[in-house]
């Protein structure tokens, strides 16, 4: 067959695969949305009171309640909420009266950047530390690397954030303590957020690489007369990458959870801090939309990891064609 046709066939297969996986995601998402919706209604307290304030009369309250559709059966409320979502309407914040969608815009962007920066540095540094540890197994670089890694897993992210603020912002005055106005604002939060993941990637890279380095094809590569500088990255690391990427993706939830805490420490205008603020105010529409968004993000990332996995693994890649 002509190579171009082969490539086209491959692309078609990949698209089909992605489509299938997206379809499979839908039931999970539906169940998740129902659960979130139901749970939000379990939160004690009356949302109407939050809107009208403590001085409103009971007539006013019941009027607003009718207006907000809160007297409808919960199923109807859910249906109309979902209908809204499909049209890009996530409701209005009880606290600010602004559409939730509008409140998300900048915050979502900020949080995505923060997450990306964190995962990028964590991935690079984690792989470097893990590789050094594996290559110098049981020697000094390994011991230092693994001590760093287990510390990174054990350190509370918010505490690390506070210490970083104290040192780099308060004492040295190099970096801002909070906000998200320039790239400088992202440095400290990214460090605090990425530390744990970096550590996990380092540990995983090490163990995965050690396993790979013991395999026969590495011996073959050395027997061909290749230098270690080629053997390690090209032959060993590339093989370990498949599982390292998977693990990194699986830690993404850890990152989303961590962002809530780290964003609070740095007064960072992102989705995580919005969640905490909204819970304090019982801003139901915002909480609901946020929880939904967090779980969608998480599910989507897992999907991307799955797809990436099949791309990195030629065994899966070629079975398709």
């Amino acid at each position: 067959m002509h190579p171009k046709i082969l490539i086209l066939k491959g692309v078609a297969f990949v698209l089909r695969y992605i489509f299938k996986r997206v379809l499979e995601m839908i039931p999970t998402l539906l169940i998740v949305s129902i659960i979130i919706f139901y749970f939000i209604h379990l939160i004690p307290g009356d949302p109407v009171r939050l809107v009208v304030g403590p001085d409103a009369t009971s007539e006013e309250v019941s009027m607003i309640r009718e207006e907000m559709g809160l007297n409808d059966p919960i199923f109807i409320q859910y249906m109309s909420y979902m209908q809204g979502i499909l049209q890009g309407d996530l409701g209005k914040s009880l606290k600010t009266g602004l559409p939730v969608m509008e409140m998300f815009e900048n915050r979502f962007k900020n949080s995505i950047y923060l997450t990306l920066f964190s995962i990028i540095w964590a991935f690079i540094i984690g792989i470097i530390i893990g590789t050094f540890s594996a290559v110098f197994k049981n020697k000094l670089p390994d011991n230092i690397g693994m001590l760093t890694a287990v510390s990174g897993i054990s350190v509370p992210g918010f505490w690390l954030g506070l210490i970083l603020i104290q040192f780099f912002s308060v004492q040295l005055g190099w970096l801002p303590t909070g906000g998200a106005d320039s790239w400088k604002h992202f440095i400290l939060p990214s460090i605090a957020l990425g530390a744990g993941i970096m550590a996990m990637i380092a540990r995983f890279t090490r163990s995965s690489l050690l396993e790979t380095l013991g395999s026969d094809f590495i011996r073959t590569a050395r027997a061909k007369g290749l230098r270690e500088m080629i053997v390690i990255p090209k032959h060993a690391l590339r093989n370990s990458m498949v599982s390292v990427v998977t693990i990194t993706g699986l830690q993404f939830g850890f990152l989303l959870g961590g962002s809530v805490v780290v964003e609070t420490v740095f007064s960072f205008p992102g989705m995580g801090r919005l969640l905490i603020d909204s819970i304090a105010f019982r801003d139901y529409p915002v909480i609901q939309a946020l929880l939904l968004l967090f779980s969608i993000q998480f599910i989507v990332v897992n999907l991307i990891v799955d797809i990436l996995y099949s791309f990195l693994n030629p065994k899966i890649r070629t079975i398709s064609s």
Partner: protein
């Protein structure tokens, strides 16, 4: 073509007669120097958690407005907080809170998760699908966010923190034990027990559960560290222990405002959390190397 007979010396067969799992474990455990030291530290923490209230130099709740925000000194080993309370004494009280919150929550999460995992792995079919589907749904929420959502419903407080952590602990144990069960289920002795007509509950209890025990121990220890971090985070977010409680996370929140001037208020509880979690993680790593070497890469 002739092929020589190949013989392999099997060292493990030599001492089979005097083999004792506990002795064997102890022998290997002592060799894990780092994990061994960490386990001594954990032991010390447990002792502190029990006898803490009898050994604290000061009352952890008693304000002393004459000595506010003092740095570490010989009379106040870890300094004092904004009410003049002795931070060292509060840390000692906090040990009890941290350890009991994490232990109780992981314990309940592990019990429920293990039972679900055993059922799921052993019976398979419809039950398996229901359980795994539910855990998929729970996995759709990052741990801390699930905990925050639960606390949003139940309200803040340490008891609710325990519940929230227990809940997000369940699915991971269920998955772990399900996997282990599937593996054990196919082994010869379970097949044999089955063919001899042993009752299912008995097979699960007598044959499958003990085989999953070492993975369970390793994972349990690891999860304690996670739980301590989660509890501290929740307290820090104002969703856990109430502000006056000598809880490590709550102490950090309170101390935050004094970070610039009296950083020890933040540093001390942070170190307590860090060292405790570190110790549990190191013990977990060591246990994994000794008990469960095959899961090393997971």
């Amino acid at each position: 073509m002739g092929v020589l007979k190949e013989e392999v010396i099997n060292e493990t067969t030599i001492n089979k007669s005097q083999y004792s799992p506990i002795k064997e474990f102890w022998k290997n455990w002592k060799r894990q120097k780092v994990a061994f030291s960490a386990s001594l530290f954990v032991l010390l923490l447990i002792i502190i958690a029990f006898v803490g209230p009898y050994i604290t130099p000061y009352d952890p709740y008693e304000p002393n407005y004459n000595s506010i925000l003092q740095g570490p000194s010989s009379s106040h080993l870890a300094g004092t907080d904004e009410y003049g309370r002795d931070i060292f004494s509060r840390l000692i009280y906090g040990t009890r809170i941290s350890l009991s919150v994490s232990f109780i929550s992981v314990f309940f999460g592990a019990v429920v998760g293990t039972i679900l995992g055993l059922i799921s792995g052993f019976f398979g079919g419809f039950l398996d699908r229901i359980i795994m589907r539910s855990s998929d749904v729970m996995f759709a929420f990052p741990d801390i966010i699930l905990a925050i959502a639960i606390i949003a419903i139940l309200g803040p407080g340490l008891v609710n923190v325990v519940i929230a952590i227990a809940v997000f602990t369940v699915p991971s144990f269920a998955r772990l034990i399900r996997g282990a069960t599937l593996e054990v289920k196919e082994t010869v002795f379970v097949e044999a027990a089955r063919s001899m007509g042993a009752k299912k509950t008995r097979i699960i209890y007598k044959h499958i559960f003990p085989e999953t025990f070492s993975s369970l121990m390793v994972f349990f220890t690891m999860r304690i560290g996670t739980a301590i971090l989660a509890a501290a985070s929740l307290s820090f977010l104002g969703l856990g222990a109430s502000p006056g409680t000598p809880d490590w996370g709550a102490m950090l929140t309170m101390g935050r405002d004094y970070l610039g001037t009296s950083s020890h208020v933040v540093i001390m509880p942070g170190i307590a959390i860090f060292l405790t979690v570190l110790a549990f993680n190191l013990v977990g790593d060591g246990l994994r190397d000794v008990l469960d070497p095959k899961t090393k890469n997971h």
